[in-house]
Each structure stands twice: as C-alpha cells, then as structure tokens.
Symmetry: C2
Subunit: 229 residues, 2 copies
C-alpha cells in the first residue's frame, strides 16, 4: 500500500505541478481545495479537472468563508490590480491580493485531514522565487508550521510518525515549474491562474497571476494553451 | 483606543472565562466561534449569550465543516463515551472526542481575523491540567503556533508588531477556572459544556465534559446553575 499525502490544490499551475510531484514521489494523493469566497470560483472547476486527470485518490473541496473578515482583493470588493507589463509588479510590497493567513488556514485544515487519513505528508506548491511578496510562502514559515504541526497532533505527540510538509517548487522559477509540470504529464490547458476571469472563465491577461504565468511560458519557450480575453 | 484581541469562544466554561480575562486585561474583544459540524450545536447559542453578556465588540461564527473528514465522536457518528464517575476518565489516552487539529484550525482562522483587524493578541482558553489528553492544549504547542504565526503574516514579517497567543487558563484547575469566571462576572448559567445534550439542550451529566465540570463546581464548593437530564 502506498503512503498517503494530502495535496493542496487550487487548480493553478503551481499546485497542479505540486500534485504531480506527490504522485511522482510514490504517494496516493488526497487533493484538497478551498472554496474560501474567492471571486475566481472557476479555479475550483480547474482543480476538479486536474485531480481527475492526474489520478488523485480523492478530492475534497472545503468551504470556509474568509470573506466574513474581508481584507483582500481576492475576497473583498476591492479591484484586482491590473498592469500593462510584468515589470510593473512590485517585488517588495505585499500584494493586495494576499489573503490574510491563507496558507496557514489551508495547511491547518490539510493537517486535520492528514491526521484522519494517517497521512504523514502534506504537499503545498509555495514558491519563494517569483512571488516573494507573500509572507506565508517562505521556507522559514513552512519549517515553523511543520514544527508546530508535529506538536499539534496525536501521532506527533506519541512519536509514532513525523509529519513532513513538502514544497517541491519552493526554489523553482515559473518557467521551471511549467517545464516540470509538462514533464510530469500535467495537461496545462486544464489549469486556471487568473484572479479576475470574465463570465466565460477566460483569463484577463493583465493581473499579477496572468502576467507571471505568461512570462513563465515565454521563458520556457512554450505557448500557453489557455484562452485570454 | 483600546488594543484589540481575537478570543476563541465555544460557549463553555473555559472559553467564557478566557473572554472575561481578555476584557479584564484591557482589550476590545472580538469573539470567534466555530460551527464545525459539532453535534452539540447548542454551544453556539451559549457563545452568543456569553459574548453579549460580557460585552464583546463583535461575535463571528465561522462555519467550517470538519465532518467531511470524520475521525471524532464530536463530529462523526461515533457514540460519545459516558461514565458513572469522573475517575473513569483516562488521564493518559487521547479521548475519542478529540477533533483532529481543531485548535490549530481555530487559531489559524483567528490569526486571519487578527491580521484584518490589526489585532496583536489572540486569547484561547486551553488548559493543560484537567485535560492533558489533548495534544493541542499544551504550552509547547501554543509556543510553536505563536512562532509560526509571526512568520505567516505581514505584520510579523515587517517587524511592525508581534502577535501574542494568551492562555490565561493554561495552569488552572477546573475549580480555579470556575472561581475566576465568577470573580470576573461571567454568568455561568449561560455557558454550556455537555458533548451530548438532549433535544431541550439539557446536559447529560455523564460525558467527560459534564463530569469534569461537575467535579470543578464540587471542588469550588459551588452549585452548577445548569439543568441536567
């Protein structure tokens, strides 16, 4: 029997590549997505398609309404910032699209599921290279979470198993992630990255997420299979 | 203007006393409860009553369906264990009423709200004395969470503020908590502790939570104002 891993899956490039890494590493993958009141709900459909395409054992969508707290352009009635060029994206400021404590909340819920499943691994597609503005994407944060998680659960306390948080993409550029995903057989036409898609689900091409995606495809010398507005 | 604190509030004795401590300590209290699919939903009504009685600035009930994962008698279709006597409760085994990673999930969501509110304090009524069976009630866990939280958020990263997790009850016995709550003006008749109340919301008197509550009142030389079945 294969070991189990809970894999956070938004349906974007990074989390899809990350799920493929878990399967490559020999795990039965339990994909976990969040309906957290994001305005781009179309990404949940992308997550379903990717979980099915890659052969996840199970896919759960956990509903949690972080909109009640507000504070982010992804959940609040704040406009998603648009740019003409990828170089306009700040490399130092924390973007307005940051959702407060999102990775902490998602990893905590992944921890709950992993405990029920007796899974000893959690995969998260965080990346410290192209998106250094998010505090909860940094290696220091991931290490601190892993340490806390091992004190939080039955298995950690009883010394039966140690939970590991896997971050296979943390040091990769977007173009390297696209190349890795392609090698691992991810159908990139099924993914979704845009923060502000139109009613037909087509990507805007001008939000931070679209611009970084397009830059990554450019650097990888590949065409993005998505349809843009 | 008073500083703000997010206070986890289940509506039981401990979290009610804890909310009263936050107010005593000079904070504007933002009470946070969870509808996590627990079978004793009546505790959410107790939380509302206590938030109102003690004068919390706001009370949010966050819905998150941990039942999707199963694994606990409080959320699953597993019978809540009953005893004739408080001495029958194991002091070493982790009880079946443990909800996987519950405090981690709740603290993470409290962290999200505290970030939006610019609150630098979170209060949680964990207790390491009477309920040593829960791994996520121990001081080591709380310290590890605090460290992780300060790496997870904008304010922590930018060095603006350090978040503190307050655990005013962690070294108190149940009878000391009851006495403290009484001194701080908590109306204990508004609280709810039972894991398995009847349809009228009356406590069973035989689950771990009821037995520890009744023992605490006994040791404090006080009468429990609740109605038992």
């Amino acid at each position: 029997m294969k070991p189990k891993a809970v894999c956070l899956l938004s349906g974007g490039l990074d989390s899809s590549a990350c799920l493929a890494c878990a399967i490559r590493d020999g795990f039965d993958a339990y994909a976990l997505s969040f309906d957290y009141g994001q305005r781009h709900q179309v990404e949940l459909e992308a997550a379903s398609r990717i979980a099915r395409q890659l052969g996840a054992k199970e896919h759960q969508v956990m509903k949690i309404d972080l909109r009640a707290f507000g504070g982010s352009a992804l959940t609040d009635e704040i406009a998603v910032p648009k740019h003409l060029d990828v170089n306009e994206i700040s490399q130092t400021e924390i973007p307005i699209t940051y959702v407060p404590a999102r990775n902490t909340v998602m990893l905590s819920i992944a921890l709950a599921w992993s405990e029920v499943l007796s899974a000893t691994s959690i995969y998260i597609g965080v990346n410290a290279v192209d998106y250094s503005g998010y505090p909860d994407c940094r290696p220091d944060f991931i290490q601190a979470f892993e340490k806390m998680a091992n004190l939080a659960t039955k298995n950690g306390v009883e010394g039966i198993t140690q939970l590991k948080i896997h971050t296979p993409l943390i040091q990769l550029s977007k173009s390297e992630i696209i190349q890795l995903a392609t090698q691992l057989g991810v159908d990139l036409s099924l993914t979704h990255s845009c923060y502000d898609p139109d009613a037909e689900g087509r990507s805007c091409g001008r939000c931070d997420s679209c611009l970084l995606r397009l830059k990554g495809f450019g650097e990888a010398g590949m065409n993005d299979p998505l349809t843009y507005q």
